[in-house]
Amino acid sequence: MSHVVKALRLSLVNSLTSVGWPWAILAMTFAVNWAIFAVLPDDVPVPDRQTGALASLYFVALIANLQLWTQGFPFAMGLSLTRKAYFGGTVLMLLLQSVVAGVALTALSRVEAATSGWGVDMKFFAPWVFDQGNLGARFLMYAVPFAMLSALGMVIGVVFKRWGQSGVYTLTITSLLLIAVVTLLVTWQDWWAAIGRFFTDSSFVGLTAGYPALLAVACASLAWLGLRRAAP
């Protein structure tokens, strides 16, 4: 455990850049969106005053985690850490970041509701269907997808470290092919209605937290398998 903590401390050495970027980007996105909403004419009805810009936080988190692996892993190995310790430390960091994201975004979504959309009727933190559930469900809705995308970043980072650029291309092409095959299969078998039912029948928490949690665990496991024989 002490080595996992060591790895965590190591990845926090320059934390402003490793952890801060997603939030800095989010702050900028928020400012830009707020400015746009502030100048929107009043005849845009309140239900239309929504934005999906929060997604930027999640995608920057993915990239930040990817870099953590491509750049942080060689550095950690250069300082004689084991792969196990590095993996443990990184997962711990990912979980901490997800918890922080969950708490912060839940709080911000409550502020948004209390200030009637930051004074400009903007639904930024809880747009569309996401504006539901109690505090616990909201926390999970924000935190778990954050962990999932970060874990996805981990997988890509590990693939890059272990198999290089061609590995990432292979991963991308294989994933796209897989999606295409599944789509064709679903269309051919007329399963779209069933898939639609799956989404309407599943609980909100299941969709926003349950399945993403499974995916996050799957991604982290894949990352570990790849990492075991990776060289810096």
């Binding site: 050495v13 320059n14 490793s18 750049q71 942080g72 190995m77 300082l79 004689s80 084991t82 060289a231």
Partner: protein, 297 residues
């Protein structure tokens, strides 16, 4: 006690055999020079010893244990490689902060002193440093880590002569106060000749020389004088290299007695470590422009 033990270790990837049945035991509290040409397998040897990469065959022991994923071993190991990369946004001080966290025996005062000695600023971004300055960062981490087993793989790429001398001086001084096992790979053999106590020469993934530096230095001499006298002196010995010039001859001879040569009025010169290594690694006929038996007509 052997700190590093390689038992019939081979490493193959693609069609390349980077290490070919290497068996080596490196003793504690010594500075070992790991020498050899480009692609000889020096870096592969070190990256397997530090569990950064894996042997295809054979048994590797460091401090008596398998180093792979072994934090008990790796906590005592520091590897400084010329191709070490650092996170893009890291400044010099972040690297030092990381090393302080990672190495249990880290000496902060020594690190600060070395930062000043090498003229670095801790606020500089590592990726903006010159090649030599980046090497200096590695050297500082390697020395201040005080790791019981420290590897320096070509640690001073781009460092100027003054900075290299500074590295040698600091290494010897700190090694004297805090004995540890150091493995130093380098091409600048003459520069480190006085520093290293044990010599390992690799060539094409095989161990060519594994010897105490002093006995290696004494193992061969250059004898010169009238051709007949040199030839008669050389008859009982192994001739490593020969040059003829008119009636004079100059031969590098293994296992010759210096006194005996002087009695016969021959001139003796010591052979430098670099020359020995050049001979050991070219004898296999790998470099046609350095044939060992060169005869001037």
């Amino acid at each position: 006690m052997s700190v590093i033990e390689f038992n019939a270790v081979s490493k193959r990837y693609g069609g390349i055999t980077a290490l070919d049945n290497v068996s080596l035991a490196l003793g504690e509290h010594r500075i070992t020079g790991l020498l050899g040409r480009n692609g000889a397998g020096k870096s592969t040897f070190m990256s397997i010893a530090t569990a950064r990469s894996f042997a295809s065959e054979g048994r590797v022991r460091v401090f008596g244990e398998n180093p792979y994923e072994n934090s008990g071993v790796l906590d005592r190991v520091c590897f400084i490689g010329e191709n070490q990369t650092y996170p893009q946004a890291h400044k010099v001080r972040h690297v030092l902060d990381g090393a302080r966290i990672a190495f249990p025996l880290w000496d902060e005062n020594l690190a600060r002193e070395l930062v000043d000695a090498f003229g670095l600023l801790t606020g500089q971004l590592v990726r903006k440093l010159s090649r030599g300055q980046r090497s200096a960062v590695g050297v500082i981490v390697g020395l201040a880590s005080r790791a019981p087993l420290t590897f320096f793989d070509e640690p001073y790429l781009g460092l100027d002569a003054v900075a290299r001398q500074l590295f040698y001086d600091r290494l010897v001084a700190d090694y004297g106060e805090h004995p540890r096992t150091i493995v130093l790979s380098t091409h600048l053999i003459d520069e480190v000749a006085d520093l290293i106590e044990h010599v390992v020469v690799l060539d094409h993934g095989r161990v060519m020389i594994d010897s105490d530096a002093d006995s290696l230095r004494g193992s061969a001499v250059v004898v010169s004088g009238p051709r007949a006298a040199v030839e008669s002196f050389a008859t009982d010995h192994e001739v490593l290299q020969r040059e003829d010039l008119g009636g004079f001859a100059r031969m590098t001879i293994r296992g010759a007695s210096a006194d005996h040569a002087r009695q016969q009025g021959l001139t003796l010169e010591p052979v430098s470590l670099q020359q020995l290594v050049v001979r050991a690694t070219t004898a296999a006929g790998t470099a046609p422009d350095h044939t060992p038996e060169r005869v001037a007509s």
